[in-house]
């Protein structure tokens, strides 16, 4: 059968946006949903197809593949045979090998499972292709993030083979320069690539594509008459975020229901800002947010609230996942109290997962909790001041501890990470880090995949200025040659993750400390008990309740320890309470001057630090460690019954 035409009734043609695997099926795809709303607002009919939901059903909601494996950059290798006509068995072997190598117990991974995964990828492409009435569309756009390039290419090739008149458009984070340009150079199925934020250009671009005139909107790669890849003027980030329409997730919920993907329990994405308010001043060394998109642009409180209410009412949902790289610090005093008021006044049960900067104090944690924020991603990454400085995090170890303490007190789950193998870290950094961990074992440890080596990613300062950090021999991560098995592709321009060399990699002492860190984190996970170090405050006294598992104790994970009650009275109780948040030793001495002799204060602090009821940083800052039980319980009260943080 020859190529089919899609030009039968051009005036009625529509745009189709496709979200391919491995986009997480729990999210309705903010990017395409927003673009669809923009296009429909502008009178350009547009549909969305969630191929990631089809794939989710195909792999039967396998929680390992869906929640863990899909995050690996290599996961798109499952689709490689369907674009490059390479061997499915080789792809499966590559995936299996990677999974075994990164697992705690590699023997649990069976080769057969990965062969099945690759076959499911093929079946998914077949079903997606068969499900869509392609003749109704003249432009098909693919939203391409990290693990969606090959799946998108595979479907694009299939479309082009049967419908050569359909124009294929790629966009999304994986299309920033030079990746997008390389995609257009290497893959003839793709006709146009938009780099950066497309909200302001998508409508004129579609109109240009449908007209005979050349594409004129900025930030677009296209081929000229000679087939050379060209770019229009440099694109710019979209500035007027309040003018954006509210994304419409209706197609997602309709397809979810139609496909019967019952195991997917979605969260509504909510975009309150773009860019990063910290990153525009200090770009964290490992962070891959592109400089061009770093400029912080926040929606106004009125608009943010209106969007929240509109999405909740439209989709009858109360669980939100703000996509912001970092919460707008202003929101602590503005938006969050207004949401809390809605909770109080109207009884709305909104809950949120936010990414936050870790420089929070008690008042911030209280504001988060009162507004219904039940989980956050606060970064953290280390407790060592030098390593944090290498990362340019703008924080210190004791601040990170304060953040975890405040979140735990308020019953807010912290999904945090620790990064090791940072360029130019020192053995003494790890000696200090290992000595800190026993002080924080009553705080929730990092999540299962939270301990990672520093990954070199495109756009990060480490990548952009490798020499400054002693990074050399930067090259595409080893798996890219398997994912894109075509030697004509310049992987250096297409890759997002990179391997590299550094003098530290030869340092056996550092390597030993990395292993010790891993073991210490494992011990932390085993020893952690919720509420194992709390304090109850009364008039003139503090009672500390300590049921921490001793560091060297070999106890089963579910065994509770006996509770030791420690009473601190009078002036000592006042000092202890004064150190609820970080205090400098000089500040403490000054606060109690004339009432308590300095020697007595210092002696008390020493005693508390020795008992690991307080922590003293290398710079002489102090914080008490037990969770205020009262705050904990009041937080639970705001949410209903018993508290749970994990």
């Amino acid at each position: 059968m020859g190529p089919r035409t899609s030009r039968a009734a051009d005036a009625d043609k529509r745009v189709l946006l496709v979200l391919m695997p491995w986009a997480p099926p729990v999210f309705p795809g903010l990017g395409p949903a927003l673009l669809r709303s923009v296009l429909n607002r502008d009178g350009v009919p547009c549909d969305i197809y969630y191929a990631n939901l089809v794939f989710s059903r195909m792999i039967e909601g396998d929680s390992f593949f869906e929640q863990h494996f899909g995050k690996f950059a290599i996961s798109e290798l499952a689709f490689t045979p369907y674009y490059f006509n390479s061997s499915p068995d080789e792809a499966a072997a590559g995936l299996w090998s990677h999974a075994r190598g990164s697992a705690r117990d590699g023997s649990l991974h069976k080769a057969e499972r990965y062969r099945w995964l690759v076959s499911r990828a093929g079946a998914c492409l077949e079903e997606v292709y068969a499900s869509i009435p392609w003749g109704e569309y003249d432009i098909v756009g693919f939203s391409v993030m990290m693990q969606q390039t090959v799946p998108s290419l595979a479907l694009a090739r299939r479309i082009k083979r049967e419908y050569p008149d359909i124009r294929i458009l790629f966009g999304g984070p994986n299309c920033s320069w030079p990746m997008g340009e390389e995609i257009l150079k290497c893959f003839p199925e793709v006709d146009f690539v938009v780099e950066g934020e497309a909200d302001g250009v998508i409508t004129p671009l579609i109109r240009d594509m449908r007209s005979a005139r050349p594409v004129s909107v900025p930030g677009v790669y296209y081929r000229d008459g000679q087939g050379q890849v060209c770019r229009t003027a440099q694109g710019r980030p979209f500035g007027e975020v309040d003018t954006l329409p509210i994304p419409d997730y209706q197609p997602f919920f309709e397809q979810l229901e139609r496909l019967g993907v019952d195991h997917v329990h979605p969260y509504l994405q909510l975009e309150l800002s773009r860019g990063c308010c910290w990153g525009q001043k200090h770009h964290c060394s490992f962070c891959s947010l592109e400089d061009n998109l770093m400029q912080f642009r926040a929606k106004s409180e009125d608009r943010a609230l209106a969007e929240l209410l509109a999405l909740a009412a439209r989709h009858r949902y109360t669980e939100f996942f703000p996509t912001d790289s970092i919460i707008n610090h202003r929101f602590y005093a503005t938006l969050l109290p207004r949401i809390a008021e809605l909770r109080e006044r109207e009884g709305y049960d909104f809950t949120f997962f936010f990414e936050i900067k870790s420089n929070i104090r008690r008042e911030h944690a209280t504001a988060l909790r009162a507004a219904g924020v039940n989980a956050v991603q606060p970064g953290i990454e280390s407790f060592n001041d030098h390593i944090l400085a290498l990362m340019d995090k703008g924080s210190t170890g004791i601040r990170q501890m304060q953040c975890l303490k405040m979140l735990a007190e308020h019953g807010i789950v912290a999904n945090w990470n620790m990064i090791y193998r940072n360029p130019n870290e020192l053995p003494e950094d790890y000696r200090e880090l290992l000595s800190i961990i026993p002080f924080v074992r009553h705080l929730p440890p990092l999540h299962e995949e939270g301990l990672t080596p520093m990954l070199l990613m495109r756009f990060s300062p480490y990548f952009e200025r490798p020499i400054d950090h002693g990074i050399r021999n930067v090259r595409p991560a080893h798996f890219y040659s398997q994912v894109f098995p075509d030697p004509s592709i310049d992987l250096g321009r297409l890759a997002f993750y990179f391997d590299y060399d550094h003098d530290d990699h030869e340092d056996q002492e550092l390597a030993g400390y990395h292993l010790q860190l891993r073991a210490a984190i494992e011990r932390w996970r085993r020893c952690y008990r919720e509420n194992s170090l709390t304090q109850l405050r009364g008039p003139g006294f503090v009672t500390v309740l300590d049921s921490r598992v001793p560091e060297d104790a070999d106890v089963p994970p579910d065994e509770e320890m006996p509770t030791k009650s420690i009473r601190i009275d009078g002036g000592r109780a006042e000092i202890f309470a004064f150190c609820d948040e970080i205090r400098g030793e000089t500040e403490i001495l000054r606060a109690f001057e004339g009432r308590i002799p300095p020697g007595e204060i210092t002696g008390f602090l020493d005693e508390m630090v020795a008992a690991r009821l307080m922590y003293r940083s290398p710079k002489g800052q102090v914080i008490n460690l037990p969770l205020l039980l009262d705050v904990r319980e009041r937080s639970a009260m705001m949410s209903g019954a018993s508290s749970r943080t994990s």
């Binding site: 969260y267 009884g347 003139g540 006294f541 009262d630």
Partner: protein, 294 residues
């Protein structure tokens, strides 16, 4: 630093807090007593609206607790009328984490034919609200003086509330329909699973999450517009014709049919005399679609 045993002796301070005419002075006296004793665990005694309005003292206590981050472990006894008057959230804000409801719910003097059932519903709603607020509540199911028919009617309502804390004891004879009642209470204790039937509210809708089925399968029902309003209004027991006033133009028969559908799904209960009450408790902030998600 003094190490003491984990359990401190409770201090009876009810007279100090609830027996004083001036709330500020009462709270100051209570604090002074606690300072002397060095205890945070306090038994406040009996709180009775019939003798003193406890509201000013509780509000003062809540303010002091909030500003000093005091971690009191307050407990007290009260009756349902007082607890209704004060409200669960105010009790919890004052630091009351344990409450004994005395003399037992379901046993007041009867003024209406359906008094036993309606009082039971009113008080189980109170227990549910206290549970939502994190107040541990102990209560008695006492139906002294109730007829066999009335006891049987209440027995039939109990299976709707297995997600709410069961009564701690059930005094009274075990003859006649009392046997049915004691069996129903026993089932309740055995099958009690907290937080398995909850509702979350958003603009114009209510979503009810039901985890009561064996195997922890989550099902949900979304109610919108007037249906959501009916569900929320029925948190207090009401007859269909009263509830129908909220659904203008719908008519009582249709409202009743809707309510009966919820009863069939055990999201609402219906008394013999035709009172409807929704049975789900408010969603906890920690709750996700599936426990362990997120």
């Amino acid at each position: 630093m003094t190490t003491v045993t984990a359990t401190s002796a409770a201090v009876r301070s009810g007279q100090v807090l609830f027996g004083h005419p001036d709330a500020s002075t009462a709270v100051s006296l209570l604090l002074e007593r606690l300072r002397t004793l060095g205890s945070t665990e306090v038994e406040l005694g009996y709180m009775d609206i019939g003798q003193h309005d406890p509201m000013p003292a509780l509000e003062e206590l809540a303010a002091v607790r909030r500003s000093h981050l005091y971690g009191f472990r307050l407990s007290c006894q009260t009756n349902a009328a007082t607890a209704h008057h004060v409200g669960a959230s105010r009790l919890r804000a004052a630091g009351i984490y344990r409450l004994d409801l005395l003399p037992g719910i379901g046993g007041p003097a009867r003024t209406r034919e359906d008094e036993v059932e309606s009082t039971f519903l009113s008080d189980i709603a109170l227990v549910g609200t206290l549970h939502e607020q994190g107040v541990g509540v102990t209560w008695l199911l006492a139906l002294s003086g109730a007829s066999d028919d009335e006891v049987l009617a209440v027995s039939h309502l109990l299976p709707y509330f297995h997600h709410i804390p069961p009564p701690v004891a059930m005094p009274g004879d075990q003859v006649g329909q009392g046997k049915h009642l004691s069996q129903a209470v026993e089932d309740w204790r055995r099958l009690h699973q907290p937080n398995t039937l909850t509702y979350g509210r958003g603009p114009g809708f209510v979503r009810i999450f039901d985890r009561r089925a064996v195997g922890e399968v989550v099902t949900f029902v979304t109610l919108e517009g007037p249906q959501a309003e009916l569900f929320l209004a029925a948190r207090t027991a009401a007859p269909a014709h009263d509830l129908a006033l909220l659904a203008v133009g719908v008519g009582v028969p249709r409202v009743r049919r809707f309510l009966d559908v919820l009863v069939e799904r055990r999201l609402m209960c219906r008394t013999k005399s035709g009172l409807y009450q929704s049975v789900a408790t408010r969603r906890r902030m920690e709750e996700r679609w599936v426990e362990g998600d997120g």
